[in-house]
């Protein structure tokens, strides 16, 4: 199941919410969709979920346009919006049962699907509780259950961790990791980038309606941070090490931060080994020498400019 977003434009009056987004993700991919508020994430997700008509461009799911065949897209896509269910007078079980019926599941198949989702999302203990009486974390689980009720191949999650306490976040992350192993194509937006780092193997970075970067994490990392970053802890004067490093070829930048020396280095992975050997040979007492791996947060900060609309 491949999802291709092609030249997507969406205007609301004079505001361009989405300006020519093009990216794709596939089965087994968990794509993080990151960007500041007003970047066009929710709009794009709503287009994929057929809730919004694009002004131009299209989204293809398995080659089928969501504009032309929204019914097909709805069978394939499970959507978790950023708003939580706020129904009066509906219990958790009734809510999930309704969606199973709405997706055309009948009889034993429906009961089986509802039961499986209730178990998977861990809501079996609160089936008779009214939706309004649930905590945010539990509501989020119910919403996730609703999106999974028809076993979609594509899962679109809009800020699923927003407002959740640390435990609920960890539990949600665990659920998503299980889903990722079930070969689903997942697009997830979140402001908590550290959360995404652990589960995403791809990323789409957007800002002010424009797409800045997209691809696998490794690809984007390579593009956004062409130099390798290292942190060195040295026994003795760090300033001497900084002075030495600044005179060493391929070292782009070196500075002392809280007793550690941070530096950026050009070249392949072996350049780090060579630098370490050189420093030892020059008599520096190296206590620690480690390569700092950039995470989504670093990539995001490098790529975006902080603009909102």
């Amino acid at each position: 199941m491949k999802v291709q977003v092609r030249g997507l434009h969406k205007r609301f009056g004079k505001t361009i919410a989405v300006d020519n987004f093009t990216f794709s993700f596939d089965n087994g991919h968990v794509f993080g969709f990151v960007g500041p508020n007003g970047a066009g994430k929710t709009t794009t997700m709503r287009v994929i979920a057929t809730l919004e008509e694009p002004t131009e461009g299209d989204v293809l799911i398995n080659g089928v346009s969501v504009r032309e065949e929204p019914e097909y897209a709805r069978r394939c896509v499970g959507y978790v919006p950023d708003s939580l269910p706020a129904h009066n007078d509906v219990t958790v079980h009734e809510y999930l049962d309704f969606y199973a019926r709405a997706y055309g599941l009948q009889g034993a198949k429906r009961r089986e699907a509802v039961g499986a989702v209730e178990e998977f999302t861990g809501v079996t203990g609160i089936l008779d509780k009214h939706l309004k009486a649930l905590s945010k974390g539990m509501k989020q689980r119910v919403t996730l259950g609703r999106a999974l009720i028809h076993n979609p191949d594509v899962l679109i999650l809009d800020e699923p961790a927003a407002g959740l306490d640390p435990r609920a976040r960890v539990e949600l992350r665990e659920l998503l990791m299980v889903l990722a192993t079930q070969n689903k194509a997942i697009l997830i937006s979140s402001h908590i980038l550290t959360e995404l780092t652990e589960i995403c193997n791809g990323v789409v970075i957007v800002e002010r309606g424009r797409l800045l970067e997209s691809g696998t994490v490794a690809e984007v990392l390579k593009k956004s941070t062409p130099h390798r970053a290292f942190a060195i802890r040295v026994l003795g004067e760090a300033s001497a090490l900084v002075k030495e490093l600044l005179q060493t070829p391929h070292v782009i930048n070196a500075r002392e931060v809280s007793g550690e020396v941070l530096l950026e280095l050009e070249g392949e992975e072996s350049a780090g080994c060579e630098l370490l050997a050189t420093l030892i040979s020059k008599g520096f007492k190296i206590a620690e020498f480690k390569q700092s791996k950039a995470n989504l947060e670093d990539i995001f900060m490098n790529v975006t400019k902080g603009g909102v609309q």
Binding site: H87, D89, E94, L105
Partner: protein, 520 residues
């Protein structure tokens, strides 16, 4: 349509919307509170009347009627106002942009959603009517009202409640903000309240005269069937329109509506002809022509608001063969097809009206059927004026719609298609207001000035004192239409040429509905 049959009764499942809505309704304080309040009112009224009667020495022979006269407005209020507002309000909330929680991300079709909402409302109506029916039948024992009157009034109230319910659902589906819907809904609510008054007045008249004795005559069935027929037509239109409004933008929304309107046009025409020939009068033809013209003017506005873009999904269904494709052009979504369809029906309406009212074609039909000519003497002079007024109104509307279309296409193409429709309303409104405003500031505005000839002013046709100016208006409207056609002719031809089927790419064929396996 999901209907239980002998074959599928074991596996049949009700509409999910009905299940959910009813679950929510029975737990809702609004519904249960209203039901309890309703019961309390019925009980207190009955007890109050009976206690009041116990203080009188002579028995009141019309006590049942008096109690019934109190019950019916209460029931009408619930049926015409409360339940439609409850169902419509819920649907409006679900249709809000921010609320993605509900139906529009599932595979439920638009028709099932609307049918589910309607059925839920009908079940609630049945609940309230069932509660009320025993009290109402009890009034028969207290004298002053016969059982047929009770049942007929209950049926009338029920049918009107269903129509109100469908109206509320239609209004809730309009693509407008909550505020705008409220603005449209308020007059509709006012009308419903007025309907409660009308229903009460009608019931008093019926109770006074008694229905039982008339049940075997046309005096009862003639108006009853006519009203039911008109109500059904309205219901059908609003039901289909509501479905079209919640259908995806890529669907051919116009097809069911235009097919329905064409069918209704033809059916009402045949019925009117039959009525005119049988009754030996031309009034039905005149009434039908006036009504049809009004509907066609509304259809013009809807057509220009449809836009030019036809989704690939629609284009894939355009027939290959020439004659079929030519016919399909009139019924597929799109401004050009809509205008062509409306114009064609308008020409047919005018032609038929002219044949009936001027050429007296109906006379021969009427002579053959009822043995008398179908032209009422007093109607002769009026018919020519009516035809002229109606045709001028339509021509003006057509001209303004063509201008609206041109302005949208030429100057504001990035705006949504509804802009053309809004222009088509704004232009005649401006032309009607601005000259009179100028007269006002020149201190020359008077009733006489308003009733003078104001060419191009669509409202002036009705307000004009000297009817001989209608011909001037007609000529003016005709010239305006010619200019409008000139402005849009190339666009229309381009639209007609573009109306060709799209070849489906093999990759874009959606696979058959997959039954999702349970989660592991």
């Amino acid at each position: 349509m999901n209907v239980p049959t002998l074959k599928n009764w074991r596996t049949w499942e009700p509409n999910p919307i009905v299940v959910k809505e009813l679950r929510q309704a029975v737990r809702s304080w609004a519904v249960t509170g209203m039901l309890l309040g309703f019961l309390v009112v019925l009980f207190l009224v009955t007890v109050g009347f009976l206690l009041g009667q116990s203080f009188h020495i002579s028995p009141n022979q019309a006590l049942g009627r008096e109690i019934f006269q109190f019950f019916l407005p209460v029931l009408s209020l619930v049926g015409f106002v409360f339940i439609p507002v409850y169902v419509g309000g819920r649907l409006t909330a679900e249709r809000q942009d921010g609320n993605v929680d509900m139906l529009y991300i599932t595979t439920l079709s638009a028709a099932r959603i609307i049918r589910g909402k309607l059925l839920c409302g009908i079940y609630l109506l049945v609940l309230f009517f069932s509660v009320c029916a025993p009290f109402m039948v009890f009034t028969n024992l207290l004298r002053g009202i016969d059982l047929p009157t009770v049942f007929v009034l209950l049926v009338v109230a029920f049918l009107l409640s269903v129509l109100s319910l469908q109206t509320a659902i239609f209004l809730s589906c309009l693509p407008a903000s909550k505020g705008l819907k409220l603005l449209v809904g308020l007059p509709a609510g006012g009308f419903m309240m007025a309907l409660v008054g009308m229903m009460t007045a009608m019931s008093m008249e019926m109770m006074r005269e008694g229905i039982g004795s008339r049940l075997g005559t046309w005096i009862f069935w003639g108006p009853a069937l006519s009203a039911t027929f008109i109500g059904l037509l309205l219901f059908g239109f609003m039901h289909l329109a509501a479905i079209a409004l919640v259908s995806p933008a890529s669907a051919n929304r116009a097809l069911p509506l235009r097919s329905y309107a064409t069918g209704v046009w033809l059916l009402t025409l045949l019925l009117t002809v039959g009525w005119a020939a049988w009754g030996g009068t031309l009034e039905p033809i005149a009434a039908w022509t006036s009504f049809a013209t009004g509907i066609l003017i509304a259809a013009l506005l809807i057509s220009v608001s449809e836009g030019d873009e036809q989704s690939a999904r629609i284009r894939r269904t355009i027939p290959e063969s020439g004659p079929k494709r030519a016919l399909a052009f009139f019924f597929y979504s799109g401004s050009a097809g809509g205008l062509a369809w409306t114009f064609l029906l308008a020409v047919a309406t005018a032609l038929w009206a002219s044949l009936s009212l001027d050429v007296k074609l109906l006379d021969s039909l009427s002579m053959a059927w009822s043995g008398r000519a179908a032209s009422a003497r007093s109607f002769g002079a009026f018919s020519g004026e009516l035809e002229m007024t109606l045709s001028t109104l339509f021509l003006y509307a057509l001209a303004y719609c063509l201008y609206g279309l041109f302005i949208h296409r030429r100057f504001q193409p990035h705006r949504p298609a509804i802009f053309a429709g809004l222009c088509s309303i704004a232009l005649p409104a401006l032309w009607a207001i601005v000259p009179n405003l100028v007269l006002f500031f020149l201190n020359k505005l008077s009733w006489d000035a308003l009733q003078e000839r104001q060419l191009g002013n669509i409202f002036n046709i009705i307000a004009m004192k000297d009817r001989s100016f209608t011909l001037d208006h007609q000529m003016c409207a005709l010239v305006m239409v010619v200019i409008g056609v000139g402005l849009n002719f190339r666009w229309f031809l381009a639209q007609r040429r573009a109306f060709v089927p799209l070849v489906r790419e093999a990759a874009a064929v959606p696979p058959a509905t997959a039954t999702p396996p349970p989660l592991s």
